[in-house]
Every structure is written in structure tokens, then in C-alpha cells.
Point group: C2
Chain length 161, copies 2
DNA sequence: GTTACTCGGACTCATCTTGTCCGAGTAACT
DNA sequence: AGTTACTCGGACAAGATGAGTCCGAGTAAC
């Protein structure tokens, strides 16, 4: 059970993007977080493909959120970066071997897969209940209101303003 | 987000083991499910290391459940086979970069990691709420009571009785 | 029209999971 | 008690997946 490490980067980037209505280049996000810019680009492309952020090319381009932070959930980001597929995949081994269950008797899903998917549903519901806006609020609560403001000024200060 | 495929095998094996109080060889479990015996052995070893099943060596040996099926949860099996570590790992990137949060200011966990771990907790609770006995009951309900009985007779019929 | 900066996809490398093998140990049988 | 055959256990390769890097296409500013 291992989640792609890019999810953490993507979430932090989404929180940072809430501070700027103007596009932010991927290189700047990478510098801010001190991570590989080449690799962070891959995660941002995943977010763009999912429609969570949109890219602006050319000079003074970059990435910006497409929707309001309140309407982007953690589940959206996880699905975009880590893939939407379920963690548990049922290979229907009940239909194999000498005592295989006949295919026509398998009307519903395998009980084992059903239980695993129920647990995954609980996980997804918990992720869907938290938005990027919630995260930004929590960051302000723990690191102080000056944290995100500092990010905002740093983002524009390094550019033209 | 990908779970080890061995989890599915291990769960099916645990359900099968509920039908037999006597040790079942790994090779027989592999034949029953039509999977690689060499690889299934690895999963069973993980279950044994976790104390969920115990091995009996020598002739007419094999694996048997150590506890009652009612006291073995899906979470136990998942932790044993797939590892107990969290799926989301926080690398504390908030403490990196030009605007790094000072270490002494990081009293609590990163809000992002906190949200992810909350979701994982919901997943684990759902897994801990289901036991191997529940799965066996569900299998009987869907495939009919003769399914597990057939497994039991097949297990002993192939041996000596 | 030029320039410089941006994203986008194709490529390579490390890591992990999957899958396999043979040797140590033990209980049954003679 | 000796032999035998069957069991688990850990050490050993191969394929697949993810991590990380690179350069070219496109675009907005100058």
C-alpha cells in the first residue's frame, strides 16, 4: 500500500495556488518547495489533464486553479495524480482452480472484494469531505496568517509584481 | 495507489483455513486457487510472521489459523501482507525552500498530512470492522452453504481423510 | 519580427513487487 | 532407532512500476 509521493507535492502546490489569481510557473513552485522542477512538472500536467488547474503558455505564463478552492477536494487531486483505479483489484480467483465457482453463479462481486471496496469507499468519502480551501484555512491556523501572505508576496516579488 | 496483489490471495486462504482445524499445506492452497505455489508461500510466511497463522512442519504439516476467525480482522491481514506503514508519507516539505517553516514552529503534523491520515484512519477502521468469520459467512450467503463444505471435503479428500 | 519564457510529451534510471529456487527441519513410517 | 518423504524458511533473479531528466513546440511580451 503505497501512494505516489507526487500527491504531497500536488496538494502543497494547490494550496499555494490559492494565494495567487495569476498564473504561477512550475519552476517557481519547485523552487518554493525545494523539489525537482522537472518532476514536479509531471504532477502539474496530471492536474491539468484532470481539469483542476489550467496552463497558460508564453511569457508570464504558468498554472492557475480553474475552480474555486472550495470546490476542489482532496479526492480530486489524489485521483488526478495517483490514478482513479481502486487500490484493491479482484482477480476473481474464486472462478479458478478445481473448485471454481461457475461464472453464471457469480452474480454479485466477490464478498472479499466487496469488503475491501467498502473500506476504500470510506477512505474516498473522507477525502472528498476536505477541500483545498479547508487545507489553506488549516495552514493559516497552524502556521499563522502571515504564512500564506508571505508566499503570495514571495511569488509576486520574484517576478515583476 | 496500489495494494499488493498478495492481499487477495491471503484473504482467500484465511477463509479457506476456517474450514479446516488441521494444518493445510501451502501447495494445496495454491492448487485450490490455481496460483503460484512458490509465491503464495511468501504471503503465508508474512501471515505467520504476524502471528495470524502458525506453521506445522514435517509430514502432514502445513498452516492453520492461530486465533478464532472472529478475532482476525481484514486490517490484520492487510498489515501483515502489505506492510503496516501509512500509504501517505509526509516528507515535511514545509520545512524546505526559501520560505521554510522553522522546525520549532512545527509542533503538530502538517495539515495536509493530517487530512490524508484522517482518511486513512477511516479506511483502517472499516477494515478492522470486518473479520474473517464475516467473510466466510458472506461466502456462504452468496455461493451457498455447500461451497465451504466442498472445500473442506476437497482438502481432506486429497490427503488421507 | 524577435526574443525569451512557458508548457508538453518522449526518454532513461532506480526501486519495488512479483515470481522462483534450493536447503534446513521435522513428523511419520518401517 | 534409522530412514524417508514431506513440510516450511529464507536467499536468489526478472519484470513492472514509479521517479527523475531532458529537449522540442508553442505563445505572449517586447
Amino acid at each position: 500500500m503505497k501512494m505516489s509521493g507526487g500527491v504531497e507535492w500536488a496538494l502543497h502546490c494547490c494550496v499555494v495556488l490559492t494565494t495567487s489569481s495569476r498564473p504561477v510557473p512550475a519552476a517557481k513552485l519547485a523552487e518554493l518547495h525545494d523539489v525537482s522542477g522537472s518532476y514536479l512538472a509531471k504532477q502539474l500536467q496530471s492536474l491539468a489533464r484532470a481539469g483542476l488547474i489550467h496552463s497558460v503558455q508564453g511569457k508570464s505564463g504558468g498554472y492557475a486553479l480553474t475552480r474555486a478552492p472550495e470546490s476542489i477536494t482532496l479526492l480530486d487531486v489524489v485521483h488526478a495524480v495517483d490514478g482513479p483505479g481502486p487500490a484493491f483489484v479482484c482477480t476473481e480467483i474464486r472462478q479458478r482452480g478445481p473448485l471454481a465457482t461457475p461464472a453464471d453463479a457469480c452474480t454479485g462481486p466477490c464478498p472479499i472484494a466487496h469488503a475491501m471496496w467498502t473500506a476504500e469507499t470510506a477512505w474516498r468519502q473522507a477525502l472528498a469531505a476536505v477541500t483545498i480551501a479547508d487545507l489553506a484555512r488549516d495552514v493559516e491556523a497552524t502556521s499563522g496568517p502571515e504564512a500564506l501572505v508571505g508566499v503570495r508576496t514571495w511569488l509576486v516579488g520574484e517576478r515583476d509584481g
